[in-house]
């Protein structure tokens, strides 16, 4: 079942453009959104969350257009755009105390268990946390209200290998519980470890949107690792992969 759909998304900047991109996210699957720095991953995710105003196209969740149903849709999705970069001198506990009131589905028990899993001290302020810990706090906020879809912009950036492995394991666990996970990354091994589907963006254009096995079948040469395939595709002029 399609749970999120992006249709003909266009965003034009003076030096960059998202080129009429379309893709969809299937329920209960992990989609890895991959592309090099500046390829358009964050712009796409921000457009999916109405943080930037697209020049064209539409984003739908649960069959509803995002515009006009923003509040109700946001309650059903969890999202994180990098690290916690807000209110550097407020305690995490105070930030959570405010945020939790916006969600009818806030799961205090899940919140506490993620705090323990990520070893977060909620009496600390963002200023006192490392970059990796800030990413984790942001993830906890996205995870603690029983979201049906998780949209995460580079959630593994800044995490140590152990935390990254735990997080990717968590994605798998959530997927098994029926949660749809969509995460961007430029770390190809993250995709290899847990993604079911690959969405590959190159120079503002979705160059491939396929199940991982199908992607490998279509684009990888014999004996080539996914990382080598991606590097080869990226260095070929204009990105060689097409739908």
């Amino acid at each position: 079942m399609v749970i999120a759909e992006v249709r003909d998304l266009v965003k034009k900047y003076p030096s960059f453009e998202l080129k009429k991109n379309s893709f969809s996210l299937e329920s209960g699957r992990i989609t890895g959104f991959i592309g090099r720095n500046g390829a358009g991953k964050t712009t796409t995710i921000k457009a999916m969350l109405n943080m930037i105003h697209p020049d064209g196209g539409e984003v739908r969740y649960f069959g509803l257009p995002f515009l006009g149903h923003e509040a109700e849709i946001k309650k059903r999705i969890g999202y994180s755009t990098g690290t916690v970069s807000w209110y550097p001198r407020k305690k995490i506990r105070d930030l959570v105390e405010i945020a939790r009131r916006f969600y009818d589905t806030w799961d205090e028990e899940a919140y506490r268990s993620y705090l323990r899993l990520f070893e977060i001290d909620e009496t600390k302020t963002p200023l006192e946390l490392s970059e990796g810990m800030k990413v984790k706090v942001n993830l906890i906020l996205a995870l603690a209200h029983r979201a049906e879809v998780l949209i995460l912009d580079e959630p593994t950036s800044g995490l140590d290998p152990f935390s990254r492995s735990e997080l990717l394991g968590l994605f798998t666990e959530l997927r098994d519980r029926g949660v749809t996970v969509f995460f961007s990354t430029h770390i190809i091994t993250d995709i290899e470890k847990c993604a079911d589907d690959i969405l590959y963006i190159s120079r503002g254009r979705i160059a491939a949107a396929l199940p991982k096995a199908e992607f490998v079948r279509q684009y990888s040469r014999d004996g080539e690792r996914l990382e080598d395939t991606m590097l080869r595709l990226e260095t070929e002029e204009g990105g060689a992969a097409h739908d």
């Binding site: 105003h53 509040a71 807000w86 405010i98 009131r101």
Partner: protein, 217 residues
């Protein structure tokens, strides 16, 4: 909206916004341009916008499960709440000066404007200008606020100057009425001030919602 207002009060607001409400009591000062009290309250609110910008408050708000236009409404609600508290103090001071202190020499000998219904109406106008020029201007970009604030400061002091000068013009002496003198006129001027405040706030709020919807964060 209650949750957003709570967020504004607990996370975004500068403590100065709350402390500067007390400047509403400047309406009790004799021999002083009492409308400067409204300016200082606005200055306290400006501190909250400054603090909120440095704390990436708008991005946090956008990530909450609310519509983008509700973020603008939350900011306006907070600003109006602070302004409302200051206006209550000002109204209290005006009531005291119109009743208990209506014959007090220290106020009667005052060369500056009297704190009466007209003055209170002008305080509403100054807050309306703040909402229109500064808050509305801020939401053009949700980042830049220097130009809107300078614009507000100029408009505010021109308004204070005009309000202070008007009763010195022959024929307009009744604007400076003491006690319950010219009560009808005072109430009409107060009502006009409230109306202007509402118009400036509502129109700028609506425009700010439209502009904020199109801003890239």
């Amino acid at each position: 909206m209650t949750d957003l207002l709570r967020k504004e009060m607990r996370l975004s607001a500068s403590v100065l916004s709350y402390l500067f409400i007390a400047f509403g009591l400047m309406f009790l000062l004799p021999g002083y341009p009492v409308l400067c009290g409204a300016f200082f309250v606005s200055l306290g609110l400006f501190q909250s916008f400054q603090l909120a910008r440095e704390a990436n408050d708008i991005v946090f708000s956008v990530l909450l499960p609310v519509a983008k236009r509700d973020i603008v409404r939350g900011k306006y609600a907070f600003v109006c709440l602070i302004e409302g508290c200051a206006l209550l103090l000002m109204a209290l001071a005006v009531l005291l000066r119109m009743t208990v202190f209506s014959q007090a020499e220290v106020y009667r000998m005052n060369q500056m404007m009297n704190a009466n219904g007209f003055a209170l109406g002008m305080a509403f106008v100054i807050f309306g200008l703040f909402n229109w020029i500064f808050v509305g201007g801020f939401f053009k970009t949700a980042v830049k606020f220097a130009r809107p604030f300078v614009g507000f400061v100029i408009a505010c002091f021109l308004t204070i100057f005009a309000a202070e000068a008007l009763h010195h013009i022959p024929g307009l002496e009744r604007l400076n009425a003491f006690g319950t003198d010219a009560l009808g006129l005072q109430l009409i001027l107060l009502g006009a001030g409230i109306l202007l405040f509402l118009l400036m706030t509502l129109l700028s709020g609506r425009r700010a919602c439209e502009r904020f919807e199109k801003i890239d964060l």
